[in-house]
């Protein structure tokens, strides 16, 4: 083992706890891809999601995170996707 390797090993040992850049990158990738999807959606979508939630909540006991509304643009038309996770009886 060369003296440079020894040097590298030692500094690596002290370094590990500081390698936070990887975490930063992963967090950014997730939040930015999420925000990009929202950005391309029309403004009424959030309001519609709230209204749909109210209607569904009248019949079943669900909470806010159980409803997902997404608008997917395809050639010539848009598809509104509604995902509702219903509680098991």
């Amino acid at each position: 083992m060369s003296i440079k390797n020894v040097f590298g090993r030692i500094s690596q040992h002290f370094r590990r706890q500081d390698e936070t850049a990887k975490v930063a990158k992963e967090r950014l990738q997730i939040i930015i891809s999420h925000e990009r999807v929202q950005r391309d959606q029309p403004d009424y979508l959030a309001a519609m999601q709230r209204d749909l939630l109210d209607v569904i909540a009248r019949y079943v006991n669900i909470n806010k995170d159980d409803v997902r509304v997404e608008l997917e643009r395809q050639e010539g038309c848009s598809v509104l996707e509604l995902n509702v996770v219903l509680p098991q009886q």
Binding site: K4, R15, D18, T20, A24, K25, L28, E35
Partner: protein
């Protein structure tokens, strides 16, 4: 017809004004007639960075309100012959800038200038939106730090929808990433997002990487844009970026850490041993 460049970022304090000053000087010293406009109404600072704070008589808002004409408000830069500065006003009136007023000023400047550099305020309010509205190109200034990168992405979203070009369907404005306050040493240690990371996330063409540099504070202390300090790393990096903006192929510098003398010594010994 002038080319209008907005220097923007969303997040505050990342280096927009530093960049606007150096970019404007860089363009002007290459012979392009350039105007640089401070859009940060109420927080005028470009004048200090350019070293012309004591020569401000009239400002951007005076011109918009018809209280002065453009020639009275434009300040001739003392570093570069072809450069003029239009300072922001210190008014607290948030609505001092109007779409029509800004458009008229830019139209008039466009007749005689080659480039107009718009130094945007932070945030996504009126001032920032007006600074970008008429732009042909955007320089998105980003620091290697999570909130700055996220805000830059937000700005890219606005740039693609909230500009005159986008609204009139005249094609996208050209977007350029300028990464500033970069510390190769901390990147090597895994402490700082790397150029590759940020490039991958934002995915727009890279205009330049400006290292974290002591020369920037020295330059602002003196009121001499850092690009004029041609000995400094940041000054050289800004000059390179201006070259790239004008279509030159300039290799990237200051991306590697300057190795410590102990490391250099060891690698030297190793080479000898081979």
């Amino acid at each position: 017809m002038a080319k209008i460049i907005v220097v923007t970022s969303g997040k505050g304090g990342v280096g927009k004004t530093t960049t606007s000053a150096s970019f404007a000087v860089g363009l002007a010293t290459r012979g392009y007639k350039t105007a640089v406009i401070d859009f940060d109404i109420g927080l005028r600072n470009l004048d200090l960075i350019m070293g012309c704070e004591r020569r401000v008589v009239y400002d951007f808002v005076n011109v918009i309100r018809g209280e002065a004409n453009l020639n009275q408000a434009l300040i001739r830069d003392k570093h570069a012959k072809e450069l003029f500065i239009l300072p922001a006003s210190q008014t607290r009136d948030k609505d001092a800038l109007t779409l029509e007023g800004v458009g008229n000023v830019l139209d008039e400047l466009s007749k005689t200038f080659d480039f107009i550099v718009c130094d945007s305020p932070a945030g996504i309010e009126r001032g920032a939106q007006l600074a970008m509205y008429f732009a042909d190109s955007a320089i998105v200034v980003t620091n290697p730090e999570v909130s700055s990168v996220r805000d830059s992405d937000r700005m890219l979203g606005l740039l693609s929808s909230k500009t005159k070009r986008a609204e009139e369907g005249k094609g996208q404005i050209s977007e350029h990433l300028l990464l500033t306050r970069y510390c190769p040493k901390r990147v090597t240690k895994g402490e700082m997002l790397s150029l590759a990371d940020i490039n991958e996330i934002l995915a727009i063409p890279l205009l330049g990487v400006i290292p974290e540099s002591q020369a920037v504070l020295r330059a602002s202390n003196a009121g001499v844009p850092v690009v004029i300090d041609s000995e400094s790393d940041a000054g050289q990096a800004y000059a390179d970026a201006v070259g790239r903006f004008l279509g030159e192929e300039v290799p990237f510098r200051f991306l590697q850490e300057k190795s410590h003398w102990i490391k250099r010594l060891f690698s030297f010994k190793e080479k000898e041993a081979v």
